[in-house]
């Protein structure tokens, strides 16, 4: 336990940390450590990250998911994160929202992927109420049939994390680093990236989205704002995150093995 907990009557406590431009690797390291070592609930919001970075899920195969030659030529960093799910390219136009919860934090919620996804879908339904035909569709956040948020999860014995990267805006050129994934939801209907995704900024101002997300979380949790400095001493432990950059050598070997 990091700080004394006080429980608002009926609502479990959740620590809220807000960042702007925090490097995505640092964000993921914080999340992985909180998931594995903290007994508290957390909401982390990062308004953009610094450099364009490709982030793959735990089982992602670079040769299948990336245009490796372009990635290497343009020196785009590639991260393998600790959660499942697909591949995204993130930058300062991406907004990240993460929930890390104890199993008991959400009443009647079973700690399985579809249940957690259903919970998150209903939370974001409050955020996007009346806006753009929002829904959770085959585990993606969409307006209509256009995806604007990719999410992923990790479930441990006593906790779970659900984190999302929202496309506030995106650079068309960056999408060219990503191949069409072999595993794709049926509603994608083999559409290319640019026909499949849409921009959140076409639907809602940036600050409104963040404020409404905090408001929606506040209907289920008693939020307590924390700065990173307040927990940094607790984060300096022996914990070794699995999330890491892939090296150029690893990407080159992957390309060579795949015969690219």
């Amino acid at each position: 336990m990091l700080l004394p907990q006080t429980r608002n009557i009926g609502l479990p406590m959740m620590n809220l940390m807000r960042f702007k431009g925090l490097p995505i690797l640092q964000q993921l390291h914080i999340e992985e450590q909180l998931l594995r070592t903290s007994s508290e609930n957390w909401c982390i919001i990062n308004d953009g990250t610094n450099d364009p970075t490709i982030v793959m899920g735990v089982s992602g195969k670079p040769a299948e998911l990336l245009e490796i030659e372009s990635v290497l030529h343009d020196q785009v960093p590639v991260i393998r994160r600790f959660t499942g799910g697909g591949t995204v390219i993130v930058d300062h136009e991406t907004i990240f929202v993460t929930f890390i919860c104890n199993k008991e934090a959400v009443p009647d919620l079973q700690p399985y992927p579809r249940s957690i996804m259903s919970w998150s879908g209903s939370l974001y339904s409050k955020v996007f109420q009346g806006i753009g035909d929002f829904r959770l569709r085959e585990n993606d956040y969409v307006f209509g049939n256009h995806k604007f948020g990719g999410n992923a999860q990790s479930i441990t014995k006593n906790k779970w994390i659900h984190h999302t990267s929202f496309l506030w805006d995106f650079n068309v050129r960056n999408m060219a680093y990503l191949k069409l994934p072999k595993r794709a939801p049926a509603y994608r209907s083999a559409r290319g990236h640019l026909d499949f995704i849409c921009r959140l900024n076409d639907y809602m101002p940036r600050s409104t989205f963040i404020d409404k997300t905090v408001e929606a979380a506040g209907t289920q949790f008693s939020l307590r704002s924390l700065e990173l400095e307040a927990i940094e001493t607790c984060l300096e432990t022996e914990f070794r995150p699995s999330t890491r950059f892939l090296t150029s050598e690893e990407l080159e070997v992957a390309a060579a093995v795949a015969g690219q």
């Binding site: 899920g57 735990v58 014995k157």
Partner: protein, 165 residues
Amino acid sequence: MALRMWASSTANALRISCTSKPHLSLVFSFSRCFSTVLDGLKYSSSHEWVKHDGSVATIGITDHAQDHLGEVVFVELPEPGGSASQGKGFGAVESVKATSDVNSPISGEIVEVNSKLTEAPGLINSSPYEEGWMIKVKPSSPSELEPLMGSKEYTKFCEEEDASH
């Protein structure tokens, strides 16, 4: 043979496994959610099963777990020679964009891992108690098996868990 085929098709409709492998009991328990629970195995509250056979115990996740997890697309397994600790994670499965820890019901040396799961992770869905086994362990404290649930207790546990959510 005809009766066996009818039983098998009925069992399939009810999603019950009628395994006829001699080393597994033919007796199975019904749960209201129609997940298979096999006699002769022990079960943990985090939905792993263990079959103790002489000096080796085989471990995997239950039919209830694989059903709730969805299609397994990736399995992370430890190296043989490592150790498993009771209640602690030894690997993970990925399904529906989520990694889920798999915890060992008992402690011991990991003597074998199911390498077939690398190429065929779906075996965990299609055959959670047989081809989908995950690791084999040489138990360091066989008494750890005692407090684990038997089939009836685990069936009730699953029913209560599902009913409460």
